[in-house]
Structure formats: structure tokens, C-alpha cells
Symmetry: C2
Subunit: 344 residues, 2 copies
Amino acid sequence: MDEEVRNTRLAKNLKVGTLDEVAAHAGLSRMTVSRVLRGHGSFSADAKRRVMEAVETVGYVPNRLAGALASARSTQVAVIIPTIGNIVFTEVMSGINSVLVEAGLQGVLAVTEYDDERERALVEGVLSWRPAGIIIAGLEHGNNTRRLLKRAGVPVVELMDVDGEAIDMCVGLSHSEAGRVMAAHFVARGFRRIGFIACDINRDLRAGKRLRGFEEVLAQHGLEIAIRHELPLPTSVPGGAAALVHVLSQCPDLDAVYFSNDDLAIGAVLHCLSSGIAMPERVAIAGFNGLVIGQLLPRRLTTVRSPRFPMGQQAARCIVQRLAGIEAPKRFDTGFEFLTGQTT
Amino acid sequence: MDEEVRNTRLAKNLKVGTLDEVAAHAGLSRMTVSRVLRGHGSFSADAKRRVMEAVETVGYVPNRLAGALASARSTQVAVIIPTIGNIVFTEVMSGINSVLVEAGLQGVLAVTEYDDERERALVEGVLSWRPAGIIIAGLEHGNNTRRLLKRAGVPVVELMDVDGEAIDMCVGLSHSEAGRVMAAHFVARGFRRIGFIACDINRDLRAGKRLRGFEEVLAQHGLEIAIRHELPLPTSVPGGAAALVHVLSQCPDLDAVYFSNDDLAIGAVLHCLSSGIAMPERVAIAGFNGLVIGQLLPRRLTTVRSPRFPMGQQAARCIVQRLAGIEAPKRFDTGFEFLTGQTT
DNA sequence: TTGAAAGCGCTAACAG
DNA sequence: CTGTTAGCGCTTTCAA
């Protein structure tokens, strides 16, 4: 964080007035104005009228830096996710905001780009704004990050996943179970030569958990993954197409490919459609997430749908409840839905 | 903003120490600690070592509320966009962040959901955190919003569009020109019975500008739109499919449909592929945005690509330059690229 | 119902 | 190189 920019001195430019200026215009004390503006404590109707008038003429915009500092209260809830390039996380964010707004809170987004060190720095950065709560994707964090989150002293919800130990609360689904369910489907379909394609499972840890669940069930049936191919993050539709081409050239007799997410799988399906590769006859394809577009393809994608919007809502609800002094679940499993498409 | 939640009193829970505590542990004054931590001013190597040690043992996390209040400086740049449900805006946001991070600044996102009143409230809310700069989508805002933005006293960049008068600076492309270019293409292809499908052009004003440019050129060739159909926001892929079915049932002899964006157009293309409707023989389809997936469909979508990532970068650069005291362009036209696909 | 005093945690400006 | 003094703009607490 090299301070290359000498930030503007806001006080000099900002023409929004202070509480004292409003008070002077209204002929009241600073405190009465404060009470009127927050609707807290008691004041006369006349005081209110004069304050409102003064606010208008002064063009007052409250300074929450000062307010939050003085009251040690905040309305900001930090949301830390790996990327906004993936619609999955933006849907989660929408769910979070829908609940937060109702409660008079606001979500503030920060993006790690799947980088551990960046995550730690962001958690610290976010903490320095003294948020009212924290929602963070994933159950795995560096040790320093975990320690920071523990001493944050505010409600913390870990999101997307429930396979592991939560710092405070967690809301999500079991990714290993999602992998198992897909493997069972592959076995039932009679696929034997199976490929796996993912984006950097050492960073996208939930994709790794799906893979392990998937392999576990395959193993129970005496099967194993014939070829595994990894792409660099970020995940992309064209990447899935290219990866399919690659694994098919390596293993021409592949029956099926399990993609770690729908973006990749959709790329593969589009490639097959364009190239006349029959699904599932020549090769079967499955993904994870249940994106809408996967269900609109000429051949519907087999996948597992994660309840992203409700998941975000539940996470926000946990925060709101805690702030209201109501206890919230330590662990909330949202479950998922298997979607049998036409590609397997 | 009804304060239903009695927010936690952070001071009571937060175990992060204060500058004074660090100073006590280090056996130094508060100011020396402050200087070391900010790398500002001068201090001995010994002082630095002692401070670092004390920070570690106290578990200190700076309080930026206090810091920003005292110094009247902020590192936050507010970014106000209509929605995060549309990948277009998240790509813009990525471009913004890529530049901001380099400069030691951080983008803070707020979402209007295409609502004017919400936009005004957000601008006020954002201003109350005293950001170092503001990036906001669009050139049209309510009057109150414009006034607020003008008195903000910080650099303001209006993004996505250059057809209009900027409050301070603007970065984007000409949507009316994009519409004109597409109309010229339609005319050149010989389409005469033309439909238009959009999402609520009274809220998505840039879609409205594209429509006007489009109609303008059609009129020059003695043509007009045969059928116009609007969907409610938010834009969606399935919506485009449904809308195409609708207009084709109303006007079976349509030659071509101009969709206000790629999401809708992609839905239409997928529907045609699934239903065996030949493009462009039976009906031609075009969109706007140049989404990657549109170029991966079995028939590439004709569209106009908006340079979203670079647009975001440029907007952030304008802010950074202004903060550094360097003058930045009042109006920056990023241009766009016409993509001739196989659907027209 | 209103006001005065004190202080949230930090930094600017100055003095040593 | 280090410390002191005086706030930033607001809210809490207590008194009137």
C-alpha cells in the first residue's frame, strides 16, 4: 500500500457543513440537532422543523466517520469474496444486500482474487473501518486471518461451505457431498473412463472438496479418474472448451468429464454443439452451480444447483440476528439440488 | 433507514488495542508510533523495531475512522453502479479496482438497482463516509443527486456514456452512435421488417440512447421499427428467449430483431438453436456489449463490444490523477468495436 | 425538552 | 528524532 497519491484534503473542498453550522442556523444546540437527525431522544416539533430547514439551507451531509467514532457503532457489514468475475458470488452478494438493506445496514464488498495474503490484508483493512459484522467466503483461511477474525469482536459468518470448523458461524452447502452425488450419477450412467477439469484446486478449495467427494464414491466402485486437467484461475467459458479439447486429445476414449463448475462445462457443451460432438453418446459433461444459461442450452447441462441468493440472505440474517442480540445458528446447511440434464 | 438493529457497541468487543496502548508497550509517545506505522516523518530504527514488536503483542489494528477524521483524508473511492447482476458492471469494477489498488486506494461499491431515489440516497450515504473520489454510472441523475455530486468537493467520474454533459468528468462510449452503427448494418443487410427488444428503456437510459440512434438511421432509409417490446428489469437470458417468441407471434414476417443487450440476444439465439429457427435466414439477431459467451455460440452473435475493463481503468485513472493534482480529461471516449457475427 | 462538558482514536503543527 | 498541544465532527452522559 505505497501511498503514491497525496489524497486531497477533504475538509477544504467539501461544502457540506457541520452539525455546529446547522445548529447555528437553527438557533439550537448541536445536541438537539443531532437528536433530531437521528430521531433519537426527545425534541419539540418546532425544533425539528427548524433543524430540517437549516439542514436544507446549509446542505448538510452527516459525517459518519465522526459519528461512528464517537458512538462506536457502525452500519457497515464487510463482505469478502474471492472474485466478482463469477456470477455465483454476485448472486450471493445480492442475497446478502437484500436482507441487510431491510435492517438499515449496508454491505461493503472486498475481493481477494483467491489470494491468501490479499485476503489477510483485506480482513485487516476491513477491520480498520470497524464494521458491524463480517461475511467471508470459505472456511479455510491463513492462520493470521483466522486470528484477526476471532478478535474482531463482531459476528463473523463464513459462507459457501459447511465442510469444516467455523470461526463463529457458517452458512453453505457440503461440497464433498455434491461431489459424491455427481459420482453416484456417473456410476449409475455406467461411465467408466472419467475425466476431471478444474481451475486451480489449490486456490479454489471448494472445487477441491468436490473432487475428493467425487473420487471417494468412484473408488467405492473400483473406479478412478483417468485424466485430470487444471487451468489457471479465473474460471472462464472459453477455458472449458479448450480444456475439453485437450483431455479428449490425451484420452480419446473418455466417457465423461466432470467440470468443477458450470462456466467451464458450458464452454465444453458449446464446443461440442459447434463441433458436432454428441453428448452424452460421444462424451458426457457435467458441471456445478446450476447457472441459468446451462439450463437454456440446446442440450441442458447436468449439474448441481447451489442456492446462492438464499445462501446470501441466510448469512446476512445471521449477522442481523446477532446484532439484535438474538442467537443465530452456528452452522446452516442450505443443501443443493441435483439437476439431471441432457449432457449425461 | 429505520434503525431496527441496535448495533453492537464495537468498543466493548473489539480487542485490537489503540495507538496509546501500543505506545505504552513500546515506551514511546503516541505520535512516534503513528509516524512509524504510516512510514511518515522520521524515526529511529530502534523506535521502529519497538513499535513493530508492540503492535504484534497488543494485536493492534488501526482505526481508520479516527485516522480519516483527524487527517481529513480518505483512501476510499465510491463506485455507484445500477446492478452487480450484470457482468458488464462487474468487469468495469474490475478495471477500476486494478488501477485503484496500484494507487493505494480502494473501491467501495454501491448498487442503485436502476432506481433514481435509491441512487440519491446512496450518493448521500456514500458522501457521509467522505470518500476521496466518486465514480458513478451514467450521465443522467436526479437534480438533487447532481447537486450533491457537485458539492462533494472530490473528483467525480460519470461512467459508461459520453452522450451528454458531465458534472465533472466522464468516461465511456457514445450509445447513440452504437445504435447508428447497428442500424447501418441492418440496412446494408437489407432487413426491412425490424423489431426491437429491451428492458425498460425508461430506467436503462443508455439502452434508450442506442434505440434513438438506431431509429435515426433507419428513418434516413425510410424504415421504422415494426414492433417494439419491453421487459421489466433486470435483464436476463431467459427473458430474451421469451421476448423473441412474443414478437415473432405478433409479427411473423419479421426479418431481424435488435436486442438492447447481449443477455437478451443470447437467450434469443439459444431459443433459435433449440427450436431450429434459422439465423439469419428466418430471423436475424443482434445485441450489444460483446459478451464472450455470445462469441462462443454455435452461431456467433452480431453485436457491439464495449471496452468495459479499460473503461473502468480509465475512470479510475481520472480519479487518481486528480488526487495527485494532475489534470485529467473532462470527456474520454473509449469507442467501441462492431462484431460481425453469424446471426445477421 | 434542551444544553454543557468530555472524549471516541487519531493526526497536524509546532516545539524541543 | 521525539514529544506536546489542539483539534477532526460527532455522541455519550449528565445536569438544568
